[in-house]
């Protein structure tokens, strides 16, 4: 069971890293608008998409 003494602090460190990463993403505005970027890739840009458009 001594392995727990290594694994649990490790998981806590991972947790801290995850929260830090989340806080960073929030600060950078990654969650400001979740809908618009999803549409961007659906759009065939006329400059590049001319050839394969129907």
């Amino acid at each position: 069971m001594t392995i727990l003494l290594l694994l649990i602090p490790l998981s806590l460190m991972l947790l801290a890293a995850a929260i830090w990463a989340f806080a960073w993403a929030v600060r950078c505005g990654q969650f400001e608008d979740l809908d618009t970027p999803a549409l961007d890739m659906l759009y065939d840009d006329p400059a590049e998409g001319q050839g394969d458009a129907d």
Binding site: F22, D33, D35, T36, L39
Partner: protein
């Protein structure tokens, strides 16, 4: 490719919004006008030239994918072009724009951004404007960030493009306010993230403890796990759960028990009980319950807020100002443009036709006509002689005016109406919300039960007293109870937004469900303010069709509101020598004969009776009865409201006789005309003292105090910005069918909330006796809690599947 795109977009629009393409505007989805429908080469039909122009531009810019992607119809495009030249002024930009490396940056608010496709369209459209360095639109917050190069373009050029697509720009608050708003929403998001991650970890450690069913774990290992769980759940309870703790403190300070108290008490109970058990090495800990609870509630609240934020962003946009400027006359007769706030009493101000007055004043020089709809609700311009008082916010019509300022700032009539709104809001009858009432009695009942059980076990078996009382408090789990309301509200607000009704205030749905009376303001809600021909009485040798043709010919090129009544009978040749006599009528020659159309004394040498007469100056030929036309869907919406057993009232600022006639056509018995804002509010108060719950539907500034004072209020999208700020709901278009649909949804939501509360209380009715008897094992408690929370959430989701007729 174009044709294919259009066909596809038609199909997706029709399928997505369940409207038949033939009867509504292709661009904005509003009903088509009865006549003169603009359409384009593909047979796409529009409600107005503005929408047609926007759709044409979108096609030419090859942005038609917008119609495929959108999930809500666009806003109606205003017909009259606004002038954005004032936005280029340095003194306007100073507080709102800042210099960045590439040029200047400004944050704008806009109304009409309804879905992600709108944001996408704005992004693309603005980026193509010359001189625009970067444009990012956010559909959730209704904000557009624009960076432009001042050397290559004026700010007004991209703004013009924006307005032509139907998105009117407004100034956002100052830079500091914008930053504050962002950091607040970021903190909320961070709370949710910490709660989610922390809850997952805490549950993992709790899992290890739960799986030790036989109690074989060494005490040291067990305590180690408990301390780690303590470490992880502490920030969740105190950082992520802070809004609940703060809310609880607020409620306690006001000496009332509400939902926040319930949430905070149960979280803290589970947490503190766990800490106590950890310290004294007791049999169970409940860290997982505490953190899961915080996470689920935060998630439900975030969802509900998100759907409401879209609404409040729109109202935000509408309540914000455009740059307000005034033209002041200097002593030597020359003019200067100054901010409206710089005016003082005694200044001479010039107002161009079609512009709103910047301050209260006295009219100088000549008579002029003013549209006072903002203040009185009267939709027709009122002629004022020189020397008459005129009010800020009213719009100068037909010819420019000069006035001497008599009131600025707080002294303006406009400010008085604003104060009336604030007072009405403060005195709104406060209804204790069902959930709060239940929560309050639940908290009290629970604490009492815990005390009784503790005392009983003290006497019966003192060793287990503490443990059983603790188990009782934890197992009673107000989880389901506290989730039942936010979950239902989150789903209901989403469903409301889908039918085009945006909720601004959180507790308005409950009031809407309980409404017993609906009070309509006439202009702008039931009618669209346009005059229509109701009947013709013929006196001379001409037939009915002939006299209508004569009147139509005379009015053909007139911009007077009466002309709209004859617009449907447009004829090829207009009359010649047409001359308008303000206040009297119109005169002209048609087919070799001189005609007069107007007041009886002017047209037919009779005594004026308020009607519109056609004659040659001596002999009467016909009398026209004109009245404001009701909206096409007014009758249908009203009958839908009646089947919901609502009583309908009409309260209008227009002339008594016209209002009564209008009400009769729609079958409304209770109608009152000539109502000032104060009188309307008094009427609503009178109804409220009879125990009625009043829903007010209006659009004008004169409605704003009533909207604020009624139990629940709906403002129409095209109305005054202030009316929308005073209202609980804002309709995104004038289609009246949304009102009965919203009421039906509100009632359904109330029903779901009641079911949820019943379920949560029913669960407790079974769980509490078990816990009190000391029979509840940890896994029974965990199962019960999870099942009850899941049930109320799934029940709430049924709202989103409700069919909107």
């Amino acid at each position: 490719m174009n044709g294919a795109t259009v066909a596809r977009s038609d199909a997706s629009f029709a399928a997505g919004l369940d409207v038949r393409a033939a009867e509504v505007c292709f661009h904005c989805g509003e009903p088509l006008p009865p006549l003169d429908i603009p359409s384009d080469s593909d047979g796409r039909r529009f409600c107005c030239p503005g929408c047609a122009a926007a759709a044409l531009w979108i096609r030419e810019a090859r942005l038609e994918d917008y119609y495929r992607f959108r999930s809500a119809p666009a806003g109606r495009v205003a017909a009259e072009a606004a002038d954005f030249a004032v936005w280029d002024r340095e003194d306007v930009q100073r507080e709102h724009a800042r210099d960045v490396a590439e040029g200047r940056e400004i944050v704008l608010l806009t109304d009409g951004m309804r879905c992600a496709a709108c944001a996408w369209l704005i992004d693309r459209a603005l980026s193509r404007e010359p001189g625009v360095v970067e444009a990012t639109a956010n559909a959730v917050t209704g904000r557009i960030r624009l960076i432009w190069d001042p050397r290559r373009t004026h700010l007004s050029a991209p703004l013009q493009r924006l307005a032509e697509l139907g998105y009117k720009p407004y100034l956002a608050g100052g830079e500091a306010a914008e930053r504050g708003r962002r950091s607040e929403s970021n903190r909320d998001l961070l709370r949710l993230g910490v709660a989610g991650l922390g809850a997952m970890q805490a549950m993992m450690f709790a899992e290890a403890l739960y799986l030790d069913t036989a109690g074989e774990m060494a005490a040291a290992t067990r305590d180690f796990f408990r301390w780690v769980a303590f470490l992880v759940s502490t920030p969740v309870v105190f950082f992520a759960g802070w809004p609940f703790l703060a809310g609880c403190w607020r409620e306690l300070r006001h000496r009332r028990l509400g939902m926040d108290t319930l949430v905070a008490v149960s979280t803290l109970l589970a947490y503190i009980a766990s800490v106590v058990e950890t310290l004294r090495g007791g049999p169970h800990v409940w860290y997982d319950a505490a953190v899961m609870f915080v996470f689920l509630l935060l998630a439900a609240r975030t969802l509900e807020r998100r759907s409401r934020r879209v609404a409040s962003a729109q109202v935000d946009a509408l309540a914000r100002s455009r740059p307000a400027l005034a033209v002041r006359e200097r002593g030597d007769g020359s003019c200067e443009t100054v901010p409206a706030s710089a005016l003082s009493v005694g200044d001479m101000v010039r107002v161009a036709a079609g512009e709103a007055l910047p301050a209260d004043g006295v009219l100088l020089d000549a008579s002029a006509s003013f549209e006072e709809a903002l203040l009185t609700g009267e939709s027709h311009p009122v002629a004022k002689p020189a020397g008459a008082p005129v009010f800020a916010g009213t719009v100068c019509r037909e010819r420019p005016a000069r006035l001497r300022v008599t009131g600025v700032g707080d002294a303006m009539r406009l400010s008085q109406v604003l104060r009336l709104v604030e007072r009405a809001q403060a005195h709104r009858p406060r209804v204790a919300r069902l959930a709060d009432r239940v929560a309050a009695s639940f908290v009290l009942g629970l604490l009492l039960a815990a005390a009784v059980v503790y005392l009983f076990w003290r006497w019966h078996e003192p060793d287990r007293a503490f443990e059983v009382a603790l188990a009782l408090l934890v197992i009673s789990c107000p989880c389901a109870l506290s989730l039942s309301v936010p979950a239902a509200l989150a789903v209901a607000h989403g469903a409301l937004a889908k039918i085009g009704v945006l909720a601004v205030r959180p507790d308005a749905l409950d009031a809407l469900a309980r409404a017993t009376d609906v009070v309509f303001d006439k202009t702008g809600t039931l009618s669209d303010g346009r005059l229509a021909l109701q009947g013709v009485a013929v006196y001379g040798e001409l037939s009915e069709a002939d006299v209508i043709a004569v009147a139509a010919a005379l009015e053909r090129d007139s911009r007077h509101p009466i002309a709209a009544a004859f617009a449907g009978h447009a004829i090829a040749t207009s009359a010649s020598e047409v001359e308008e006599h303000p206040g009297l009528g119109i005169e002209g020659v048609w087919r070799g004969r001189r005609w007069r159309l107007g007041r009886a004394d002017f047209a037919a040498a009779r005594e004026d009776d308020g009607g519109l007469w056609l004659g040659d100056g001596r002999i009467a030929f016909a009398r026209f009865a004109l009245a404001e036309a009701e909206r096409a869907d007014a009758c249908e919406a009203l009958s839908a409201l009646r089947t919901q057993s609502l009583e309908i009232h009409l309260s209008s600022g227009d002339a008594q006789e016209a209002v009564i006639r209008f009400a009769q056509r729609l079958g409304i018995a209770a109608a009152a005309g000539r109502q000032s804002a104060e009188a309307k509010l008094a009427d609503v108060r009178a109804l409220q003292t009879q125990g009625r719950v009043v829903a007010m539907i209006g659009d004008g500034l004169n409605d704003a105090p009533v909207l604020a004072g009624a139990d629940v209020s709906i403002a129409v999208a095209e109305g005054a910005a202030l009316a929308q700020r005073a209202a609980d709901f804002v309709m995104t278009g004038p289609t009246l069918g949304r009102i009965p649909a919203a009421i039906a949804l509100a009632r359904r939501t109330r029903e779901i909330v009641r079911q949820n509360l019943a379920w949560a209380i029913g669960y407790n009715a079974i769980a509490l006796p078990l816990a009190a008897a000391g029979l509840a094992t940890p896994w029974v408690a965990a199962l019960g809690m999870a099942a009850s929370s899941l049930t109320v959430t799934l029940n709430a989701l049924r709202l989103s599947r409700m069919k909107m007729s």
